[in-house]
């Protein structure tokens, strides 16, 4: 009954989406406020319906209703409640349902917070967004229905993939989807602008909060995913340039470019056509990401060919929206009035520089991810494009960006003074040089370039703060004056500084982890000791425990620094009988921003066990930097100019909770 209710609600949502796809746009064309007003109601009703559908599926999972095929395949009655809930989106069908839930949530948010949008723009935006929604409802109902029943109810479920039984899964996909789907709003705004043939600085101001909100969720979502892979996969890597990761990274790069170009459009009324293109591309890349992950085309071209229904359906959605969006762009963009001159040395020039390199970086990831696929399809030749390729091509594209990042906010609009800005950055340069020299003298091992990378990181961080330091007269005026001035600064200035600072923090973490991380691999017997960076890890013994739906073998290690016991680490291996698989649970010990990472290999019959022990210096900065970037986005989002004369920004915090 509950499953049928959910199914019914989803069909209803499709109906509402179809109405919303046409009626408001018709209203906008005929200037009929009644027809245009339909959009707000249907957007809210759509969200309600999808929320009911999602809740229905969640209930099926919580009560372990194994008559529902989806629940049977991905759940187990012995699983802890939290994992029963997260399994809802730990599979294809459920994750698509989460996708549309967030899509309809964003639609509803536009309906609620878009009160001061021009009526036609709001109608067109919601109409366009509904096209996307309708396509995905149809996709779920036709090819991936999570509410299908089994003719005979099995006694027990097949369990969720053990790797996914982790709190990381509870948070990572929803955040990532908030980011992906958030760009659908930007996309809808872009298409609506093309339909209306009108785009101005006000448009940029309306779009910016949505872009920022999506970008923040994507930033933190990617960072969460990276941390999850780091501790769950058991070999301490945090970024693999895996196609699935790249799929989330591409929209992030395009979204970051969009954030910056939208500023130019808002302030200087320039780069309109380019901003529209980026808005279309950011969402297109999100769709491509969904396609790559969901169609199975990545595993191999052949698995895609054997069961193509879903893949072909998503491909059709892709072709329609990306092709349609770009075609509309090609047709209408030339009619948009191009405005604004720009000088190469100016704030807008710096932002264009940023866009050039971010776009190139994004294109590199795109081509690198799809090249093997394309080549195999066209010529049959098989090549691999992996981490070494991306590392080699990505760094040269990102270094200019990092060098330029502190310059941008210090430049004046219209006519900047490169030499003057460089002089103001002298402090940052000095800090960088000190960092390089210090690293050269202290560091052992690591590449020759490592000290320069450290210098770059410090330069980015110091450069990000330069603007704030100057404008608050820190160190020059009394502290009280500085404090008052700091309060007077716009929140977007703080946001920019913080986000750029976070970039430097992440870079610092990356450099330290890759250059000075150490690793020990050994076979240990009880009471033996393994040492790393002055810490001794003594193997105390093995124990076996029973978890709710697994058995685990736990090894106990006593950690000493000199003679002082600083902690106990208990890495384990879990065996899940329901799926006949096992996972490694690494044990982590945090010291400052650094971590010790201990994971287990296979036990031998003679009582010894293979052990992998890492020291990861400053590794936490990698993710902390992303958190700082997100906070920068949040500050910018709360800036006054985005609240006045523009729709109230989406509050990602309320959006974080999936519907109950």
């Amino acid at each position: 009954m509950i499953a049928e209710l959910g199914h019914y609600a989803l069909v209803l949502a499709l109906g509402l989406a179809l109405i919303q796809s046409f009626v408001p746009i018709l209203g906008a064309r005929t200037q009929d406020p009644v027809l245009m007003g339909v959009a707000g109601t249907t957007a809210l009703a759509q969200f309600l319906c999808v929320a009911i559908a999602f809740t229905a599926l969640t209930i099926c999972y919580v009560i372990s209703d194994f008559t529902v095929a989806n629940v049977f395949e991905n759940s187990h009655s012995a699983m802890p409640l939290i994992y029963k809930i997260t399994s809802v989106w730990g599979n294809h069908e459920g994750s698509m349902l989460l996708w549309v839930l967030i899509l309809s949530l964003f639609g509803a948010l536009v309906a609620i917070f878009g009160a001061n949008l021009p009526l036609t723009l709001k109608a067109n935006v919601l109409g366009v967004q509904s096209w996307v929604a309708a396509a995905f409802y149809l996709f779920i109902l036709v090819t991936s229905n999570p509410f299908l029943r089994l003719p005979q109810a099995p006694f027990e479920g097949r369990d969720l993939n053990p790797i996914l039984q982790d709190i990381g899964l509870a948070i990572h996909p929803p955040l990532l989807y908030l980011g992906y789907v958030g760009f659908s709003i930007t996309f809808s705004f872009a298409i609506a602008a093309l339909i209306e043939g009108k785009i101005d600085a006000a448009w940029a101001r309306w779009v910016r909060p949505w872009t920022l909100a999506a970008w923040m969720c994507l930033t933190i979502g990617i960072a969460m995913g990276s941390y999850w892979a780091y501790y769950e996969l058991g070999w301490g890597g945090w970024w693999f340039w895996d196609p699935v990761e790249n799929a989330s990274f591409m929209p992030w790069l395009a979204g970051t470019a969009l954030l910056h170009s939208a500023v130019v459009m808002e302030k200087r009324n320039a780069l309109k056509v380019w901003t529209i293109l980026l808005a279309i591309l950011a969402f297109s890349l999100s769709l491509i990401g969904t396609f790559l992950v969901r169609s199975g085309v990545l595993t191999s071209v052949h698995t895609f060919a054997t069961d193509p229904t879903r893949g072909v359906f998503i491909l059709a959605i892709l072709a329609t929206f990306i092709g349609g969006g770009l075609a509309l762009y090609a047709w209408r963009a030339p009619t948009l009035k191009q405005g604004g001159l720009f000088a190469p040395i100016s704030r807008e020039g710096a932002l264009i520089f940023n866009n050039l390199f971010l776009t190139a970086a994004c294109a590199t990831v795109f081509v690198g991810t799809l090249y093997p696929l394309a080549l195999e399809t066209l010529t049959g030749a098989k090549i691999s494009v992996g981490a070494p390729f991306f590392n080699a091509t990505f760094a040269p594209l990102f270094i200019p960006l990092l060098l330029a990042a502190p310059f941008g906010p210090l430049m004046a609009w219209k006519r900047g003074d490169l030499y003057g800005v460089a002089q103001r950055l002298l402090g940052a340069f000095a800090i960088a040089v000190i960092a390089i020299v210090v690293t050269f003298t202290i560091a052992e091992g690591g590449s020759v370039l490592a000290p320069f990378a450290i210098g770059l990181a410090f330069y980015v961080m110091a450069g990000a703060l330069t603007d704030l330091v100057e404008r608050t007269s820190l160190f020059r005026a009394p502290a009280a004056v500085s404090l008052t001035r700091a309060r007077g600064l716009s929140r977007s200035a703080w946001g920019t500084a913080l986000a750029h600072f976070g970039l430097g923090v992440t870079l610092l973490g990356i450099v330290f982890e890759t250059q000075w991380g150490t690793e020990r691999i050994a076979e240990m017997k009880p009471s033996q000791t393994l040492s790393i960076r002055g810490y001794d890890f003594t193997f105390a013994g093995i124990a076996q425990r029973d978890g709710p739906n697994y058995r685990e073998l736990t090894a106990k290690f006593i950690v000493r620094n000199g003679d002082v016991v600083v902690g106990v680490l208990e890495p384990s291996k879990r065996s899940f009988s329901s799926r006949d698989t096992s996972t490694t649970e690494a044990a982590l010990m945090t010291r400052g921003f650094s971590q010790f990472y201990l994971s287990l290999g296979d036990p031998k019959p003679d009582g010894s066990i293979a052990v992998r022990l890492y020291h990861k210096p400053l590794v936490l900065l990698i993710w902390l930097g992303a958190v700082v970037m997100m906070l920068g986005g949040a500050l910018s989002l709360s800036d006054r100019r985005l609240r006045v004369g523009a729709p109230k920004p989406a509050k990602p915090k309320t959006a974080l909770q999936p519907a109950e």
Partner: protein, 156 residues
């Protein structure tokens, strides 16, 4: 008693994938050689896995390749010789960083080409702006006349 645990554990693991890449018994006594082997392992693909290097992978094939790399290094091969040997044996698919060739030219040149093209495009635009300035383009007499017509029709 502990042995029993371990035995039960081993039984439970049969059929499951052991999650562990480089095994302790693979490691070479010569540290320098081992470091080179690790670096090479990161460049080589485990061909039965999805986008994993043999350094990260726990598949049996990855282990065989890791041992093979170490054997070649111990036999005195240079890094390049090891890569060449594996490419000859398994094809280019084994390299995570593809060789530059006609097939991969687009892949390798694209980033630089894109930046160059973009920069060129921008420079041309700035130049054109400086020369004429998009804003003060003079209208031809014919255009003036047409404009006049529009203004008139608007007023009516």
């Amino acid at each position: 008693m502990r042995w029993l645990f371990v035995l039960v554990w081993l039984l439970a693991l049969t059929g499951a994938t052991p999650v562990f890449a480089v095994q302790p018994d693979e490691i070479l006594p010569d540290q320098q050689l081992e470091a080179r082997a690790r670096n090479l392992s990161r460049e080589l693909r485990c061909m039965v896995c999805q986008n994993q290097s043999i350094d990260d992978s726990d598949a049996a094939l990855a282990r065989d390749l890791r041992v093979l790399v170490r054997e070649r290094l111990q036999a005195g091969d240079s890094d390049q010789q090891v890569l060449d040997f594996l490419t000859a044996r398994y094809g280019e698919f084994v390299l995570l960083k593809p060789l530059f060739s006609l097939q991969t030219a687009l892949l390798w040149l694209m980033p630089a080409a894109l930046v160059t093209f973009g920069a060129f495009f921008l420079i041309v635009r700035v130049r054109r702006q400086r020369k004429g300035g998009e804003t003060d383009v003079k209208l031809t007499p014919a255009e003036q006349a047409r404009l006049g017509k529009f203004v008139k029709s608007e007023n009516e």
